[in-house]
Symmetry: C2
Subunit: 548 residues, 2 copies
Amino acid sequence: MTTWQKARTARDARIDAGAKVAKGKIVETGDVTRLLEAVIRPGDRVCLEGDNQKQADLLSAALLAVDISKVNNLHMVQSGVVLPEHLDLFDRGVAKKLDYAYSGPQSARIATMLFGGKIELGAIHTYLELFARYFIDLTPHVALIAAVSADRDGNLYTGPNTEDTPTVVEATSFKDGIVIAQVNEIVDKLPRVDIPGDRVHFVVKSDKPFFVEPLFTRDPAAITEGQILTAMMAIKGIYAPYGVRRLNHGIGFSTAAIELLLPTFGEKLGLRGKIASQFALNPHPALIPAIESGWVEQIHSFGSEVGMDDYIRARSDVYFTGPDGSLRSNRAFCQVAGLYACDMFIGSTLQIDLKGNSSTITTSRIAGFGGAPNMGSDPRGRRHPSEPWLQAGREADPDSTPALRRGRKLVVQIGETFGEKNVPLFVEKLDAIALAEKLKLDLAPVMIYGDDITHIITEEGIANLLLCRDAREREQAIRGVAGYTDVGRGRDKQFVQSLRERGVIRRPEDLGIDPLDADRSLLAARSIKDLVRWSGGLYAPPSKFRNW
Amino acid sequence: MTTWQKARTARDARIDAGAKVAKGKIVETGDVTRLLEAVIRPGDRVCLEGDNQKQADLLSAALLAVDISKVNNLHMVQSGVVLPEHLDLFDRGVAKKLDYAYSGPQSARIATMLFGGKIELGAIHTYLELFARYFIDLTPHVALIAAVSADRDGNLYTGPNTEDTPTVVEATSFKDGIVIAQVNEIVDKLPRVDIPGDRVHFVVKSDKPFFVEPLFTRDPAAITEGQILTAMMAIKGIYAPYGVRRLNHGIGFSTAAIELLLPTFGEKLGLRGKIASQFALNPHPALIPAIESGWVEQIHSFGSEVGMDDYIRARSDVYFTGPDGSLRSNRAFCQVAGLYACDMFIGSTLQIDLKGNSSTITTSRIAGFGGAPNMGSDPRGRRHPSEPWLQAGREADPDSTPALRRGRKLVVQIGETFGEKNVPLFVEKLDAIALAEKLKLDLAPVMIYGDDITHIITEEGIANLLLCRDAREREQAIRGVAGYTDVGRGRDKQFVQSLRERGVIRRPEDLGIDPLDADRSLLAARSIKDLVRWSGGLYAPPSKFRNW
């Protein structure tokens, strides 16, 4: 019989070995590396918790310090490769193989290491896709996670940054794996239980709170007039005619501009209650004015955002909160919500090619996918109708049998034709393809595929790709909003004009928008300080965003 | 400030009202209806837990008994409409509107009530899609759930049938809703904590265990030789050439036949370790021989299956289990796994049309969707490659740039050309379309769309729709495996022959399969008793499956 419980027996042996450096479940800070050496085996699949926000930083430092004769060749299976230590692990030989989703700040170094063969790459995933594999073929043997506090039974309070933790713990602990948590403090009674203690094997008190990146804070002061113009076009040319109520926003300044125009430009158009009322979204500070103006009914969040705790607590009608009053975020559920319950995804990208494929990858930077491809794809398993979804489906395929015609998710790319440092947004060929060749990848890391994109917005206009009937129309529609980039100048002017007459392309003036009106005075908040004011002093921005 | 915490204030008032019939969190069985009258408000969104397996049956009876002057016009948002009481609620006026996913045994009555206008239909969903909406626009005010046991703090043990509970509780409790659990017993210490008590407001001890349907038990004695033939074709013609390791099976006899052929026919072909090693699947008894023969590495489950508890406990290397040794199922995560981490879905249906659209709906029965459309659709947000997925992508689109060519999920329909009572599987027009017209639905309830299906298997052959280049080829490929049905007889014989020459259609003989070999002696188990024997006596089938 025992031959069918090998993993359980091995798990118990690991716990016994770990127990020698623990008191009950509690391990002293100085003993963490010894704990890891005791419970981790060479070649293990290990999830070192970390995503685009929270980081189990004490545990990553401790793992880096192991004796590599004891712990080596690990297969890291984790959302984020974000801290320098995450890559140092490969340099030192502690880890060998990597399956991950996001590598924002390490995008240049991870590219170098991949080129140099320092990392054996499994695949680059979306968050939800990697979570899916945790249950099928990438189940961690050991999970190293982060929480705010623990009690002596190992029950955990993750506070506002619950994020990936429940998913990682469920996959690991219920498949005979070991869960080790770093916590900011050990207390007698938790404010709430986010993770039951019987799923957690060891707890380490960290000398400082786990690191959280304020990734979703956009300073309104940095929003340009070009971004304001595209935001006006988005609201009037897409949100309004489709009646988009349930949606997700990307993290860039373009969508922050939309958030800040809702209570001004949107209000003037009489759109309150008709658009942008339910979000799958982190607690973006830029959404505070819209919330205070009564635009937003409900927000479910992947994670939290630094400085938003008191505001969230005081606005519990809008956010998901626990019995302790603080945010309950959950990346897995919010990604599912973004996939299946939202009618629109809108975000920015670095490059768009002539077919509409887009990518945030350059030949020297691999940023990973995060969540965008999941939310920015047409969910073909969806079966419930909604007006925006049906309308998009009608536009894409007007001649089919209505009862058999699925709707379409609105997937919108918004940006200026020339981005930062004057780099063109539109290209003939994505850098992602050169990268795939260099790394011998089966697939170029495309963020959103052209056949999923429905609209592209630039300062020159909106291209509605749903209305394009063939490849040539798509290409010319894209060229037709690509401005003075090479791609834009390569347009067939007459053809583009005919697309405009059909409404495939709409210029600002076709939408009744005067580009000269795109003024910063339209922003409901023009600075971080304005956001604090809107929040009644409840929003406490991180110091790097304070200039007062 | 309080105006932004209306829901929390209302929630606290509900708890206070409920507390009057409770002792702490515990409510006596006889007081349940009074509790519901105290905490539920007219028009509330209510999730009465129930899916295709477990049912909160005590709570559904109690809800049916409320004074309808106090509780009425509820909006039910729940996975399953399965018990008669679920529909009685609408007859009595307790409930008015319905959003759901599955209605297996009530499919005839729900159709009648929808036709009669007794129910205001929101939409029919997949499970995962409804869960998604719980976080965006269908968040329950009250959740009525079922667990095995509770302690006095409201911590819950759901045992092997965890299923929807964590998802329902998370959406409800963290958005200021009320969670009421029926439990089989109240204990001092739980075997494990599936739901932390601070998310649970009231607990009622039921006089009998909550109902669980053994929906995934298929008696091998009922498997036909036609099903054995299609199973042989599936293994040799699809599993083997694509090398499908990660997959989900439907619940019919056709896929049960596949499970029972792995250790015989599959073994002879030398496929062990090469196919069918990781599943998103309930603990199907029919998979026991394959597990015992060393075929299966890992299974993650939506729910459990009656009688499988001891077997699962003894085979923890294969299943996800808790510290108590019993199964941990989780429908939301398993659906995510089926969507994003599996390379194939294979299942049966009732009707397939000339475009490959399929449906389990007839004009007088509305069975709902359950999980099939989610798993039986091409997940366009997927970014990790695998060999089966890439191969399917190459077949579908051989001429595109490889680095920009996504793979395809294998979505296979398997069945006999004439099903039960000699009803043809293939039809010119789905009954679902007539139903949509009759009910004025925006969308016909199509289970799997033709553009997502990759293969159709019947006793006449396999049609590989990935290789079809236009609508005519698809139609003739479908007709070419439709046997003596009207659709099959309407084929263009010469065209079908040319498709066969191209390998679009493969007959049993093209696969080296002699239909005369499709004999019941090939089944690893020919009866429920055989399954018990394979399990070493650990599988304890429900009495309705015992004839000894």
